[in-house]
């Protein structure tokens, strides 16, 4: 059974729809990647899952439960975590406080999980008392992912985790996504501009154009598809 199921979703922020009947399914343990041109609705789709964009038609189901238009603060309790593309850390709060906020809904002892996050990102441990706003883009991205991991989610939504990073960090980020998926068994759905690299680690890929699915397939199939290659992978 699929863990996340998005069915024929239509919606957006105001009057004009950005999503025009978009569907996808992510099975437990998979890495799924969404690629597509700017303005295709990739980020909106992720926001819609988290109640930050309005859906007026279609539905979103997580682990069999209907989470369509669920209030944003309630989504995370279902075991779903989201790392937005921008403004994804609390800048005036320290690294440690950011991670604590990630565990906001946990009433148990989450120090062990924090240690695990520090193991994944040793850099964060060094900077635990530093305000997040003073860190570099790459470090913030690490912190944002670490924050999302604090709830020990079953699934992680990543919106362009490599945007604006140097090539060194980009490779590191893809490695990390694989690690989180392999070792911790977290299902991943990510939007990516580095389409080729992303599809290489993906079990499944979706090409979104004008708020609608244009191509679907395994990561490999999309990489080998001449249409996709010409339009989205730079030949």
């Amino acid at each position: 059974m699929s863990l996340l199921k998005i069915e024929e979703v239509r919606g957006g922020y105001g009057k004009a729809d950005i999503l025009n009947g978009c569907s996808l399914e992510v099975a437990h343990g998979e890495i799924a990647v969404i690629i597509g041109p700017n303005g295709a609705g990739k980020s909106t789709l992720m926001k819609a899952v988290f109640g930050l964009a309005h859906i007026h038609k279609g539905g979103i189901f997580f682990n069999g439960e209907d989470i369509t238009n669920l209030a944003t603060q309630k989504v995370v309790a279902h075991g779903l975590a989201y790392v937005p593309q921008e403004n994804n850390v609390f800048p005036t709060m320290t690294v440690e406080e950011n991670l604590e906020m990630g565990a906001f809904l946990r009433d148990d002892d989450f120090r062990e999980q924090m240690e695990r996050v520090f193991e994944l990102f040793p850099r964060l441990k060094e900077r635990r008392a530093q305000p997040a706003g003073t860190m570099s883009g790459g470090e913030r991205q690490m912190l944002a992912m670490g924050r999302a991991m604090m709830m020990e989610p079953r699934m992680l939504l990543l919106d362009e985790p490599t945007a604006g990073l140097s090539p060194k960090y980009i490779d590191q980020t893809f490695e990390l996504v694989k690690t989180v998926n392999d070792l911790l068994g977290v299902t991943i759905l990510m939007v990516e501009q580095n389409a080729r690299q992303a599809l290489e680690i993906a079990d499944k890929g979706h090409v979104l154009v004008m708020g609608r699915n244009r191509h679907d397939g395994t990561g490999r199939e999309l990489l080998d598809d001449p249409d996709v290659a010409r339009m989205f992978l730079g030949g």
Binding site: T72, V75, V76, N87, F90, T92, M93, E100
Partner: protein
């Protein structure tokens, strides 16, 4: 003069922290804050004159009633306007300010009241005369500020409040209920406003315009410290309080608010991000 400055500064600080926190969370300047201070002071007055409570016995009741009022106003008015532009909230808070003042006049009348009757014997410390009330006000404000600091940095709810001031959407993504944080912010802002109102009434006298008259100075303190920043508000309150009282050495006391206003304008021109710098 310095003592008066510190006393006024303490009161302004309590008001400015509220305005600053509300701005941080709700993104609008709360014009009804001064009248909320007045309202709190009048509630205390009723308990003191009507039921014979001591002033500090009446303070908790003033806080509770003012907090209830603030949350009710938020639910009834501001909440409906939350998705509109901040300027609409600002104007509506102006309306609330006038409505609140009218309500106070209807219940308690337009005249002057004294929260505490009789003359206090001042202490003499190093040749300076200090009234017991002044000590109460400054120490009371300091205790509240320290308590607020501990709340914001040590408790989960306090941290959630800071998180939401940083980024409300991200706070919601991590599971923080924005509406709950907003209610708590009103709770804290209104508690501090009621306390500031009672202190103000202790220091001078009470009439329906009391809070409105200091609102400008409260805003000046908020801006001086950098709007939305709690620690800035403390510094701003003290600087404005001392500057305003010191100015009476040189110019007419009637111009006190003008001094605060002049500092505010100068600050906006020279350093709009506030004394402590950082994000505006």
């Amino acid at each position: 003069m310095l003592v008066y400055g510190l006393v006024l500064g303490s009161i302004l600080t309590l008001g400015a922290i509220g305005v600053s926190m509300l701005f941080g969370i709700l993104r609008f300047a709360h014009f009804a804050h001064g009248d909320m201070m007045t309202f709190g002071a009048y509630i205390a007055l009723s308990f003191v004159t009507g039921l014979g409570f001591p002033v500090f016995g009446a303070l908790p009741f003033a806080i509770v009633v003012t907090v209830a009022l603030a949350i009710a106003i938020d639910r009834l008015v501001y909440r409906r306007l939350r998705r509109t532009q901040p300027v609409i909230l600002l104007i509506s808070s102006f309306g609330i300010a006038m409505a609140l003042r009218a309500l106070i006049q209807m219940i308690w009348g337009p005249g002057n009241h004294a929260l505490q009757k009789g003359i206090q014997i001042p202490y003499r410390v190093l040749g300076v005369a200090i009234k017991p009330d002044h000590i109460t006000i400054v120490v009371g404000a300091a205790v509240l500020v320290v308590a607020l600091h501990l709340f914001l940095h040590r408790t989960k709810l306090g941290k959630a409040m800071r998180a939401m001031a940083d980024n409300p959407d991200l706070a919601a993504i991590t599971g923080i209920d924005n509406e709950r944080v907003i209610a708590w912010t009103w709770g804290i802002g209104a508690s501090l406003a009621a306390t500031a109102g009672v202190f103000l009434a202790l220091d001078t006298h009470l009439n329906p315009m009391t809070g409105w008259h200091v609102l400008l100075m409260v805003f000046a303190a908020t801006i001086l410290g950098g709007i939305g920043k709690v620690y800035g508000a403390i510094l701003g309150g003290l600087v404005i309080g001392v500057a305003v009282e010191m100015s009476t050495l040189m110019i007419e006391p009637a111009y006190k608010p003008a001094v605060a206003f002049a500092i505010m304008v100068a600050m906006l021109v020279a350093r709009p991000q506030g004394l402590l710098g950082g994000r505006a």
